[in-house]
Amino acid sequence: MMKRKLLALAISASLLPAAGSALAQAGKISGDVVKIGVLTDMSGVYSALGGKGSVLGAEMAIEDFKAQFKPKFKIELVSADHQNKADVGSNKVREWYDTQGVDMVTDVLNSGVAIAVAKVTTEKNKIMLNTGAASTRLTNEDCAPTNVVHYTYDTYALANGPGKAVTKQGKDSWFFLTADYAFGHSLEKDTAEAVKANGGKVLGAVRHPLNASDFSSFLLQAQASKAKVVGLANAGGDTINSIKAANEFGLTKNQTVVGLLTTIVDIHALGLPTTQGMMFTEGFYWNLNKETREFSRRFFSKHKGMPNMLPAGTYSAVLHYLKAVQAAGTDDTATVMKQMKATPINDAFAKGGRIRDDGRMIHDMYLVEVKKQSESKEPWDYYNVKQVIPAEEAFQPMALSRCAAVKK
């Protein structure tokens, strides 16, 4: 009995993908449904960055797309919590691809999960628009430009803005506070390179465990280093606790604290008195222009918080994908990828964005400074945009790419 069931399962499993690709090759939409999966952290340390906000971003994109294009095909959205575990994430995505007919996954924050999911996506020949994870490995050592687009930001883009701008202001000696795992190390390395390239020097670094409960000791070491800048190569709760302690210990009086992965969500959690004067790079700010304000207010009405670059990027990615499916008339991976790469991206998130051959989506990034309490006129009015970093400068140049698929 058991054996027969297994056999039946095996046969149907082997037939399913074949049937799917046969349909797609016919230039149609598989199952007449375009299915999008948002894989994210719904409850852990990073859920405030993406999480439900990213799902909402995808929903809004579908809403806008339907209103504008009145598509003939159906669009479905599913979402899941990967709990920041690579195995949970890749199993979920495998299930989505194999049994639920999901065509594209997005968000996928947490670099560890993203790299695992990228492998499954390539194996199953589907599409992954990564709007959440930061590691540049996704467009270098682990690149898969036929299936994976790195959409919103990466450690290079985060590091480059402040690394260059702050160093050029004459604040040319740096000390790093680094989360002791792959993401933190890569962020520290990218920033250190930017600092050195602009004539600065790195005086040292202290590596702290992930989710350390107290940062005062590490900050005291940063203080003792006499570096002009203290770079925080960490994220989420670690960044928040570092900044809180930096303020308390009077570090901010003589040294500049630069959060290397900081978004508006962190600033909101800390409040302006604690964060004023901080500089960092973000890929989106709600109060840039009329379009961003409209998008963000709509988002706010459902989320009770302004979007940072992750939900905004997810919105843009899903919209761009759906437009490509509409234009190509199919959800076949190769055709849609070609269409997406051929079309510039213009929406509330990006202006004149484009997807390069290595899978990197490039667009303008913003070097921002946090306002003083007295300058802030309304809730969430937090940033002064100091500099728009043009797309070509913001991301790692193709010449430096370590992606095997695009190397000549």
Partner: protein, 295 residues
């Protein structure tokens, strides 16, 4: 400047001081755990969640009712204590006769529920809570820049620890409590309401966690995960000090805070594990803990 292993001696004093501050939190939390374990035989895994609830209450008081830090320092522990009493009456009291494991599992489940509740309401990014004005600024101690607030944390927690110790070891009420632990039936026969005392003990123990939570609110991220990051270390402290030993938990809390602080200077990557290494060694040499008595 004099140096020890390449670290200036002044910086070392600074780190010692910080270790003491962190140790104060460990001491207060492990004290609550020790009291609860000593009197109720319950390994209270919900302690971290209730510590977090204390900090959240402080923030909620400020946000919704405009109640400042000082009042919340009193009100939040009482609130947490009341939550504790409800938990004890509704659930824990049925478990005293059973194996420790049941209490542990129940309170662990409760911790997840409490955390999930706040996470669902407020997300994980945390809430802003600033240092009370009286403690803005810092003392310049010469060798370091000690924020006034951190100094207050040490003073407040040592006072609370001392008072608790005095209450349990030196007063009549404490004597009743200890008697009730030793032999509940006999104590009851003398006309002392043991269930009531046990209930209040649990309320008091978790109230201590709530107090620590309010103390922590201005110094760290006020969010649903703040307790779970800390509680594992605190349990290690309790194990090292000896389960149920009041003096042991306070001394070990402070001591381990300092050792951890030193590790942050000499080998920062290991600072999250050093407490557990010590725990492993202590368990091998003295299974009942440094201050515990073998039964």
């Amino acid at each position: 400047m004099t140096e020890i292993f390449g670290v200036p001696i002044q910086a070392l004093f600074g780190q010692l001081m910080l270790g003491l501050v962190n140790g104060s939190f460990y001491a207060m939390l492990s004290l609550g755990l020790a009291v609860i374990f000593g009197m109720l035989n319950i390994i209270n895994f919900a302690h971290g969640a209730l510590y977090m609830a204390g900090a959240m209450f402080a923030w909620m008081g400020m946000e919704y009712l405009g109640i400042g830090y000082w009042w919340m320092l009193l009100l939040a522990p009482i609130g947490v204590g009341l939550v504790g009493i409800v938990i004890e009456r509704l659930m824990l009291q049925w478990l005293y006769k059973l194996d420790h494991l049941y209490g542990l599992l129940l309170t662990f489940g409760l911790a997840l529920i409490i955390e999930g509740f706040f996470r669902d309401l407020y997300g994980v990014a945390g809430q802003p809570y600033s240092i009370p004005e009286e403690f803005a600024g810092a003392f310049n101690l010469g060798f370091m820049f000690l924020p006034k607030y951190r100094a207050w944390v040490v003073v407040a927690s040592l006072t609370v620890c001392l008072l608790t110790w005095y209450l349990i070891e030196r007063t009549r009420l404490g004597a009743y409590l200890r008697a009730a632990t030793e032999n509940p039936k006999l104590t009851q026969a003398f006309g002392i309401n043991v269930p009531l005392m046990v209930m209040l003990t649990y309320g008091f123990g978790v109230g201590l966690a709530g107090f620590a939570g309010v103390l922590a609110a201005p110094a760290s991220q006020v969010g649903p995960l703040m307790g779970s990051n800390l509680i594992i270390v605190v349990f290690a402290v309790v194990v090292i000090g000896g389960m149920g030993s009041i003096l042991g938990s306070v001394v070990t809390g402070l001591g381990l805070g300092i050792i951890e602080g030193m590790t942050k200077v000499f080998w920062p990557e290991a600072s999250a594990t050093v407490v557990f290494m010590i725990m492993a060694v202590v368990l091998m040499i003295r299974p009942a803990g440094l201050f515990g008595r073998e039964k």
